[in-house]
């Protein structure tokens, strides 16, 4: 009995529990049938998708033979780096199935989405020979459905299943309302054997909006386990080293980083980055490949340092190496890391500093307290108990910056800056410079005449270091610290 028959009996209407049941049925059906694919292609497929055999088997079973009526909509989800796109594209490419693979990020208009799919199904690539033209022009879903049908007829694919893979499918939700429901019913609409596969990182429940959405078959790609990670990483083994040796290295890397980060790509990056360091004693002749303990002692502190910058790809591997050497020379890695992660003092023009300080004060002080801080004879009133209680509930440092009008910024600026400053165009242009530098942001209306509002977006530490350079005691002016 063909599995496609099951789908037909289910009438494209799979509820969640049926969904699970179905997967159970497919898995219980025993070893994967070959489905008419050549054995060497299958072998290659399994080799290229390590630790994902189960998922590949399941998908192959779902797809069936080329001319089988396939499951019309599949929803694949799983965290980043769990091999969703990799597995799907490998299946489609190795088995040479007719398909279109589209990343929805690229399709910022729905027209682009249609164009990409049609071009790929029709095997048209834009080149100078065809004046970079698309297969055909279509502006809406209706056109697309029609054109897709003709394309399939032109290529004589009526007998085969055409796969349309939409990567980063969560973007479809932000497009026109009809796109997601229409794609889920594409098989019905075109009357052809089309299988739409959605790839995403979020669960199906988040897609349920609007009407007309058909429930797809939901498949989950779980995160790789530690052993699976080990297996995949060991495939990177560089030439000239034995696999066991590299495995032992990867083991060490995982033991350090596994707690902090489980992302395959990131760990892979780190493993490649630090491998030369690991091999250093061997190259110098101080240790052999079997000397695991010695190598471990050599690399371990190095990796711990790298742990501090995990996820921060501020430097390439070459620069990282250089910095490591410098750090080793100076033995002051702490400061080095600091400069690396951005506590670098940024030099700003004199008035820009004061403008930024004024912006910070305006963002973090309530407007009613301005009188107290900036008026000469305001009298230093103490906070009352009630006020203190209220402030405790809502410390503005915790609440984040609040918007303020330009007038207030300028008033504070003029009361903190020393000397007479003419309100020249240069002063105002500095405000927009600060906005471009993202030290301040403009909020609300972009109508310049109607008193635009701003927010200061820098942190207290940064602000204090700026204030120190101009001998301004910012803490004394902050309401939270009074």
């Amino acid at each position: 009995m063909s599995f496609s028959l099951i789908f037909q009996t289910l009438k494209y209407n799979l509820s969640y529990s049926k969904n699970k049941l179905l997967i159970a049925i497919i898995m219980a059906a025993g070893p994967p049938v070959v489905f008419g694919h050549p054995a060497e292609q299958l072998a290659e497929l399994y080799r290229s998708c390590p630790s994902r055999q189960d998922q590949v088997k399941l998908l192959l079973a779902l797809f069936g033979q080329k001319k089988h009526l396939s499951c019309p909509r599949v929803f694949l989800y799983g965290p980043t780096g769990s091999g969703k796109s990799h597995v799907i594209s490998n299946i489609l490419n190795t088995l040479k199935l007719p398909h279109a693979l589209v990343n929805c990020v690229e399709c910022y208009t729905s027209r682009l989405l249609y164009d990409h799919i049609l071009n790929q199904v029709a095997m048209v690539t834009p080149t100078p020979d065809n004046d970079y033209a698309n297969y055909s022009r279509c502006d809406n879903m209706n056109d697309f459905v029609k054109t897709l049908r003709t394309v399939i007829e032109d290529r004589e694919l009526q007998e085969e299943t055409v796969y349309i893979v939409l990567d980063k499918a969560e973007r479809l939700r932000e497009m026109d309302m009809n796109i997601l429901p229409a794609f889920l019913r594409l098989g019905e609409l075109t009357g052809c054997n089309v299988c739409v596969i959605l790839l995403t990182e979020i669960v199906w429940e988040k897609f349920r909006a609007g009407t007309g959405v058909c429930e797809p078959l939901v498949l989950h790609f779980p995160d790789y386990t530690k052993d699976e990670l080990l297996e995949i990483l060991s495939l990177d083994c560089p030439a000239g080293y034995t696999k066991d040796f590299y495995m032992s290295y990867v083991n060490i890397v995982l033991s350090v980083f596994y707690m902090a980060c489980r992302n395959l790509n990131e760990i892979r990056h780190l493993a490649v980055l630090n491998f030369p360091k690991f091999c250093e004693p061997i190259k110098k002749g101080e240790a052999s490949e079997e000397d695991v303990h010695k190598l471990w002692r050599n690399i371990e502190p190095h990796l711990r340092k790298a742990l501090q910058t995990v996820y921060l790809r501020e430097v390439s591997s070459a620069q990282w190496e250089r910095m490591q050497e410098e750090a080793a020379a100076q033995e002051t890695l702490v400061t080095n890391i600091k400069t690396l992660t951005g506590k670098v003092n940024m030099e700003l023009p004199f008035y820009s500093k004061f403008l930024l300080i004024a912006a910070y004060l305006a963002s973090y002080n309530p407007a009613r307290t301005d009188r107290r801080f900036f008026l000469k004879h305001a009298g230093r009133t103490k906070k009352t108990v009630q006020q203190m209680k209220r402030d405790e509930r809502a410390s503005s440092q915790l609440l984040g910056p609040k918007p303020f009008p330009l007038d207030r910024l300028m008033a504070i600026f003029y009361s903190i800056v020393e000397g007479k400053v003419a309100p020249t165009a240069n002063i105002y242009s500095q405000i927009s410079s600060l906005v471009t530098l993202r030290l301040m942001t403009q909020v609300g209306s972009d109508d310049q005449l109607d008193g635009s509002k701003f927010k200061c977006t820098v942190g207290l530490d940064f602000m204090r270091s700026i204030a120190r350079t101009v001998n301004f005691d910012i803490i004394r002016y902050l309401y939270d610290f009074v």
């Binding site: 501020e314 165009a425 242009s429 500095q430 471009t436 993202r438």
Partner: protein, 710 residues
Amino acid sequence: MSTSGSVSKACFVFKPKAGKRKKKLNPADYFVNETGAKTEATRERYDTYQILWEDMNKDIDALQTDIHKKVFDDLVGYVGTTHPGFSLEEGTKQKVSSNEIPTAALVTGVNMPDHGMIFSNLTSLLQDNITPYVARLQAKDCSAMKNIMSKVIMQFMGNKDLLDDDDDEVQVKRISPTMPVLCGWYADAVKRSQSPNKSPSKKRKSSYGQYPPLVIVMEDLEGFPAQVLQDFIIICSQYLSRLPLVLVFGIATTVTAVHTLLPHSVSSLLCMEKFQAQPSTEYLSQVINKTLLTTKYPFKLGHRVFQLLLDMFLYHDFSVVNFIRGLQFAMIEHFFSDLGMLCCGAKLSASRVKAMDHRQLEAIRKSPSFRRHVELQKPQEQRDLLLNDKHTKEVFISLLKGLDSYHGMCYPIMHCLHALTSSLPRHPLGKQLRELYSLVLESNVWETQGYKDAFSLLRLMARDDLVSVLRQCVERLQAWTESDVSEVIMEVQTYKAQLASLGDGSQEEQEEPDETPKERLSKTTKLHDLQNRLRESAKQKKKLTKYEVLRNKILDYLDEIFRTHLPSPTTLPLHEVYYYDRVSTLRRHMNAAPRAAIQTALSNPHFYLQDESLKTEDGTIPNTAPDVCIAYKLHLECGRLINLYDWLQAFVMLVHSGDENGTDSSKQKKVDEVLQARFIRAVSELQFLGFIKPTKRKTDHVARLTWGGC
């Protein structure tokens, strides 16, 4: 839209101006004499300016490429090595292990006006060495995905058109801007550059590799919308196997800006390398050295102008481009006047002085420094200088020569003084050479407190330090080949040798003076005596060691040198010929104060309109003033909210105040429609200028946006 919220509801039509084609203005047209006619003299002045500025600009340009040379070379080298194994052919295609886009993060500093120049230099450098395909993106063009993609693709593919022919410019626009299109184009471009029968531009292409990378330069990364940037990077990484893309981020603040813009899932697609550009202060010092602290160019800035340009640099924008623009403006202003005529090389100025007519001579005679000079002369000489043109010309020539030789000595000696004092604690004469130069321009430097402090510190200096600063002095002086400072060098070197030969002898000498008081102390026993003796010994000058004597000698010599060679140029006669010091003009042009200008125009229309009838005593408003001025003055008398009807009444009253009083009472009831229209127009103008805005708090009221004035 601001207009839709206008106080007056109306239809606004903005017609495009008919004469869109702008007439190209030639600066030479502005060089005229008092009568407005172009003469030989004005033409000459313009030519002198032109030549001088071109020379100076050439030097600045050379400096510009020079200053970033190292970081650019690094960057270009990096871009060249980013895609070593890239290939488009199926057979040799190796699996790209990661989908990381090679990225160069160029930290440029916050001097934004200069960035355009930095990036155009970088672009041309990349195009000369690595790849013809460079696209430059600015945040203002990239507000959405569509814009960024079409910008990139237009620039890459437009490049091809430039190489072949220009006629498919229109065609490019029809092509939908997608990455597959770019892939197709790139494959084609590579194929075409490889085919041997392509003759044009082959020579240029041969210097590139087989697969020149596609470089995308994002000039102001901070300004890009985060979502657009993220999507763009994701898309780029998708096509890395088919397109050798390289990104260059121009970052003005710090590298952390990347992390604030991009989440980890995107930033892990980048393989970044950081490049730090030279800070602009460094660049500014070099520009000042090359253009002002040199005898090559006769044109100089006076103290106040120099200080203004420096202040604008340090306080406002860190922009060297703006500094240079200010310099150019000062120069062109200088050549506007008659004095500018003589601001050229010594030989030329002599011949020009000879060719001067009486009127021009008179203009120069009026210059304050020359008058001061005349007053110091004997009566006979004074008469000659003022009346005898021939004699005056000779004196002019000799005075100008004197100024030239002053410049010749002044700069090396100033470098010497800077070397001497720059390392002193708390920098009494400034840390940078430009600060010292500003002091020298202002007044005689030895009269300043800083100079005195510096010398009193120098008189306490230890021997090793003194030797090292003297060595620096000599090095700085030797770098000057243009002027004759060998005498000074010789002198300083002899002193240095003397210091060295002093040897260890000084150590023994030093102990001697210590002993004498001790001896005396031991002899005396009485307290009273002891006090007396101590008092005496305090009065007595401490005996100096050999080293101290020598140190004083050296410093006295240097002091003498500075006093002879570093007088302020303002004390020299005819310095106006070389020094431009009209600071108010420059300030008005370079550091504009729009708000002050608007307020002046509104409260004192006479200032701009130059109409005698508008001149009034303070406080009163003539009814002849423009409507907007009247409305402005009236609104100053109001509080936070202004009742429009009251305002209108006051307005009508004022406008009619000039007429006979009799008609007033009858008109009180109903306001003339024309007057009402005029009033509404004035109010709209005030709204446009940002003085008032409509408010919903009270009907028929507008809110004031400024305060004070009552």
